[in-house]
C-alpha cells in the first residue's frame, strides 16, 4: 500500500516551540477535540491557521520542530485538525515521542529547512506525500524531497496506532 496524500503546505521556520504551536494559556484543556482551535495562535503570520486549515493540509517546518514543553496538546491540536503528517527537517525529542505514541507520523526531511529559508517551498504549495517511501513532491515548485524512515520499534508502535494499542497488543500475544 503506497497511499499518496495530497494537500496544501503551511510553512514554518526552525525551532518552532510548543508555545507557538499550542500556547500554555490553554493547558487546562483535557479534551483533544477542543484543542485545534488554539493551534499556532501565537505564531507570527500564521495566527489564522486554526480558522483556515483544512483536513489534509500539511505542516512543513525546519529544524527542531516542537522544542520546549512536554505538552501532548501540541500533537493533539494538529492531529485533530486533520493534518496527516508533520514534515520537518528534525523534530525535538519530546515532540517526536508524543507523535509516535499517538500513531501520528513525523517525517524528517533532509534539506527542507534550507528550502524554507530560500523560499523554495511556500505557504499554499500543493504537496503529494507518500508515507511509505517518504517521498514528498511539491507540485507547485516541481521540487522533490525525501523523508527518513523511522526505526523498527517506532514503526511497530506507529502501525499499532500508538503506544497504548501497541502495549495492549503485546499483552494479548503474551
Amino acid at each position: 500500500m503506497s497511499e499518496i496524500l495530497k494537500g496544501r503546505a503551511w510553512v514554518f521556520g526552525d525551532d518552532v516551540d510548543t508555545d507557538l504551536i499550542y500556547h500554555n494559556k490553554y493547558l487546562a484543556e483535557t479534551d483533544p477535540k477542543n484543542m485545534p482551535q488554539y493551534s499556532f495562535e501565537y505564531y507570527p503570520g500564521h495566527e489564522n491557521f486554526a480558522r483556515e486549515v483544512k483536513p489534509g493540509d500539511f505542516v512543513v517546518a525546519g529544524k527542531n520542530f516542537g522544542c520546549g514543553s512536554s505538552r501532548e496538546h501540541a500533537v493533539y491540536c494538529l492531529k485533530e485538525a486533520g493534518v496527516p503528517v508533520i514534515l520537518a527537517e528534525t523534530c525535538s525529542r519530546i515532540y517526536y515521542r508524543n507523535a509516535i505514541n499517538n500513531g501520528y507520523p513525523v517525517l524528517f526531511v533532509k534539506g527542507i529547512s534550507e528550502a524554507i529559508k530560500a523560499r523554495r517551498i511556500n505557504d499554499g504549495d500543493m504537496l503529494e506525500v507518500e508515507l511509505e517511501t517518504g517521498t514528498i513532491r511539491d507540485i507547485t515548485s516541481g521540487q522533490t524531497y525525501h523523508g527518513d524512515a523511522v526505526s523498527d520499534l517506532e514503526r511497530e508502535i506507529m502501525s499499532a496506532g500508538g503506544l497504548i494499542p501497541y502495549l495492549k497488543a503485546q499483552k494479548k500475544q503474551g
Partner: protein, 430 residues
Amino acid sequence: MGKTMIMKIMERASGKEVKVGDRVWCNIDWSTARDFGGANCALQFDEITNNEGRVWDPDRIAFTFDLQAPSHSEKVSNNQKIIREFARRQGITHVFDINHGIGQHVLLEHGLVKPGDVILGTDSHMNLLGGVAAFATGVGNTDIAASWLNGTNWFRVPETMKIEVRGEFQRGVSMRDFLTMLVGDLGAGGMDFLAVEFTGESIERASLSERITLCSMVTEMSGKIGLILPNGPVLEWLANRAGPEVYARVSAIAPDGDAPYIDVRRYDVSALEPMASCPDAPDNVRPVREIAGTSVDQVHIGSCTNGRYEDISAAFEVLKLSGFKISPNVRTIITPATREVMLQAAREGMIEKFLEAGVVFTNPTCALCTAEHYGALPSGDIGCSTTNRNFIGKVGKGSHTYLMSPMSAMATAVRGVITDPRDILCQGGN
C-alpha cells in the same frame, strides 16, 4: 569500548547490555505528573482501562501540584480535583498538593530520587534531576498513562556529549551565566536527542542548586538529559535524604574511562561575564553589559531553574548592597521553588527584608513559567526573569522577556533598568 553514564543507567533499568541507538524498554522508578497534564493522564488511564484499571504500583507514582498552585480558575481547580480523586481511588499516597512547590525539587528534597533512577514526569524540566545523576525526562500524558499499565517505557539509547568546565566564576557571575552562554553557543537544537555529561573542576565544586540550574536548561538545547555524578557535599546531602544506597549507585553508573563521546567541549569560566537571553528565544544571547540601560516593567526571580535558596540568597546580597531599596518603577516578584526553600529564607530573615523593600514574595510555585498566572505581562511590557524560556508571547501576547541570573535580575530591580550586577557588587553599593 566502555560505557557512558546514560548507557549504564539504561542497562540497570532494562536488565540488558545496550549500545547507542538501541531501543530499550526500561523499568520506571517513578512515574509522576503535575497539576498540568496530571488530569489528562488520569482521564486517559481510566479511558484505556474502561475505568477498571489498577496502576502497576501506587508507591512508584507521585503527583505534584506546581504549575498553577493555588489554582486560579475553576477549570484548573477541577483538574486538580480529578488528580486527588484518582490518587485516592488508586491508593497513591505521594500526592504533594499546592502547599509544596515545584515537583522535581519536592521529590528531591523528600529523598525520593537516587542516582541512576529512571523518572518520568509531565514537565519538560524533569531532567534537572540529572543534577544528581537520575535519568528524569519530560514526557506527554500518553507516556505516563502507558507506564502506569506495567511500569516500563521505551527509550532510544542516546549518544553522549561531554562538557568539561574549569575555572572560577568572578564576583557577580554565576552558573546561570555559564549556562546562558552555552545555550547561545550550541543553540536551541544543539543537544537534540543527546545525553550530556558535565564534568571538570567547576562542576565538581558546584553546589546542588548550581547543578540543578545547569541540568534544567539542557531542555533549552533540546537535550535528553544532562548528568552530573554526585560527589562531595552534594553526595552527602543526597545520602542524608535518600539513604546510603546512593553511594553504591554512584559507583555503579560512573562513566568508564574509555566511554564513547560524540563530542567533547571544554569551557573556562574565569573570564565569563553576566549573560542574558534576549527576546524572544533562549539562544538569543548577549552580555548583560551590552543591553544595560534597557527599561523594564517587571522582574521575576524563581522557577525550577533558579528558585533555590542559593538563588534567592544571591539576589538578597545584591539588594543588601543597594540599601534594601528597589526601583519604584519595577514590579519585582520572588517565587521560591519549594516550601523548604521558603522556610529557609524566612528563618534567615530574608523575606521580611524583601517585603520591606517592596518585593512581592509569593508561595512556592512555577508561577511565571505560565501565562494566565499571577505576573502575566500585558502587551508592550518588558520583563526580566530567571525562568528558562522567553518564547514569543510566552507570559503574555506582545510582551518580551530577558532571561538572566538572580544577581542580574535583582540588580535590574534595584536600578529599574537592565543592570550588570557587578556595577553594584564590585563597587560596594548603589
